[in-house]
């Protein structure tokens, strides 16, 4: 069973410091998660009931459409009961990412999920997962075509969210959510504003961001070298896909200014993407890493 120390609770409650951020692909998928575990024992059915209560999901928009066509942010927020966790876009060795399928009127465009950076969860047996605990808010850029908006007010958006929630045992979950955009401007509650701010604080900056510390990305043979001068701590979170580092457990988290990950068993030419979490000068920042494809064997 996972337990929470006071320090991890602190991180979760005040979110921004160490944990979250990134960009994604949940948009158009419609996976069907596995069935609920068989109730062969009372323990199993109790787990299913507990898991059902373990995740609260809610949709909200950052602001009402101020002017037709202005960009909006749609937020999908999860409250996760202590001890349970959901998964990032790359769940790691086990688990399954959260998926969302939207249904919106014509003229409403919802972009790909932007995922807060997760935590590394190390499980017995040298397993490494990328997970969220306590809470996470996925952000979706949204726009409404003015011409279409005029003919379909109010605008109602439906979302079908699916996930695997785990606390030792894993249970699939699913929720149908709906939101009708208000036609008048309503400011966000301070709590919702804070949830959005926390999520944004940990989204990765693009490589082109001029305010970023200089992050070095280079291949040395089949090893990806990431560096950031002056950093005290680096953590690499690889995106999902065929090219995964062989040694993310041992080498994906270091307390120095460079890390090296082996892609020896990855396919040549596979793209390598991920988020580098940098702790430097007392500040934690998040950077999108777009490395050149895995090079040929030296």
């Amino acid at each position: 069973m996972m337990t929470f120390s006071s320090s991890s609770l602190w991180f979760c409650l005040f979110g921004a410091v160490g944990m979250v951020a990134c960009a994604s692909s949940a948009g158009a998928q419609s996976p069907s998660l596995p069935e609920v575990a068989p109730s062969m024992t009372r323990r199993a059915s109790n787990t299913a009931e507990e898991a059902e209560r373990a995740v609260q999901a809610r949709l909200f928009v950052e602001s009402a459409p101020v002017a037709p066509g202005s960009p909006l942010t749609l937020a999908l927020h999860f409250e996760i009961a202590p001890g349970w966790n959901l998964y990032w876009r790359n769940s790691g060795d086990s688990g399954l990412p959260i998926t969302v399928k939207f249904e919106a009127p014509q003229g409403v465009t919802i972009g790909e999920a932007r995922w807060p950076t997760p935590e590394r969860h190390i499980l017995p047996g040298d397993l490494l997962d990328y997970a969220y605990t306590r809470r996470v808010t996925l952000l979706f850029p949204m726009s409404i075509d003015p011409a279409a908006a005029a003919t379909s007010t109010p605008v109602t958006i439906k979302a079908n969210a699916k996930w695997l929630v785990c606390k030792e045992a894993c249970v699939p979950g699913e929720r149908a959510l709906e939101i009708t955009l208000p036609s008048t401007i309503e400011p966000l509650s301070s709590r919702d504003a804070e949830l959005i701010a926390s999520a944004r604080a940990t989204l990765p900056r693009s490589a082109a961001d001029q305010t970023s510390p200089i992050v070095g990305v280079a291949w040395s043979g089949r090893a990806l070298q990431l560096s950031c001068t002056g950093a005290d701590e680096l953590i690499f979170f690889p995106y999902e896909g065929d090219a995964q580092p062989d040694d993310a457990l041992q080498n994906g988290h270091v307390f120095r200014d460079r890390l090296s990950l082996s892609y020896a068993s990855a396919e040549t030419g596979a793209p390598v993407l991920g988020v580098l979490q940098v702790k430097r000068l007392g500040q934690t920042t998040y950077h999108l890493i777009e490395a050149p494809p895995v090079p040929k064997e030296p």
């Binding site: 068989p38 062969m40 688990g95 935590e119 894993c170 457990l249």
Partner: protein
């Protein structure tokens, strides 16, 4: 025999390192999130595609000992198993992927499930019931110490391994290419069936390693 001895030496070394790490960082090994610099000791799995599959002897649900070496000359499929895991449920109840694939090859293939759930963890001690409920016709072996799971580097349930008639590990990874259960029948690739067919045809296994998906194997700390 020489190989067996080497395996045990490596295991013993691994255990010493693991104990050291446990003393240094009990939180990381207990499944909590990382908080500090010390890294967990990594015990390299000894199973490697292209090399001899590690030998093992475990007991089935009737208490009968089953060893890998008794099946030399046959293709052996290993299926990591935990009846409480939704992904295992998917392939034994929603679809009969495992049983159907095993039946497809009849006596050309020996199919064995292995449960590495530690005592007190999900799926431990439920094999007799689930074997009956899902009409599983092959043995489910008890690996509650996690020794064989760690030897093979089994990460998820299910996690599949295909061993050829000469005892060489030829495939390790997922049962299929549909982790999210979203693909149509035509889009699905059963990697285990594919590997067995290729071995039977005397071919190289085209996809010898894939990323397994599922629940984490419920090892003891």
């Amino acid at each position: 025999m020489k190989m067996t001895k080497n395996l045990f030496t490596t295991l013993a070394l691994g255990a010493v390192v693991a104990l050291g790490a446990a003393a240094f960082s009990s939180t990381a090994l207990a499944g909590d999130k990382e908080k500090h610099a010390d890294k967990p000791a990594k015990t390299e799995p000894l199973a490697k595609v292209g090399s001899a599959a590690p030998e093992f002897t475990l007991k089935d649900t009737e208490g009968k000992e089953v060893s890998l070496d008794q099946f030399k000359g046959k293709i052996v499929v290993l299926e990591w198993y935990n009846s409480g895991c939704p992904f295992v449920v998917r392939h034994h109840k929603k679809y009969n992927t495992m049983t159907d694939t095993a039946k497809k090859f009849g006596d050309k293939v020996v199919w064995i499930a292995i449960n590495s759930s530690a005592p007190g963890k999900e799926g431990h001690g439920l094999d007799v019931g689930s074997k009956k409920e899902w009409s599983i016709g092959y043995p489910i072996l008890n690996d509650e110490t996690g020794k064989v799971g760690r030897l093979y580097g089994a990460k998820t349930t299910p996690h599949m391994f295909v061993i050829d008639a000469q005892g060489i590990l030829r495939y390790a990874g997922a049962i299929d290419n549909d982790a999210k259960d979203e693909k149509s029948v035509g889009e699905k690739v059963n990697y285990v069936a594919q590997a067995v067919e290729e071995i039977l045809a005397g071919k190289t296994v085209s996809q010898a390693e894939t990323k397994p998906y599922g629940c984490s194997v419920k090892y003891g700390s």
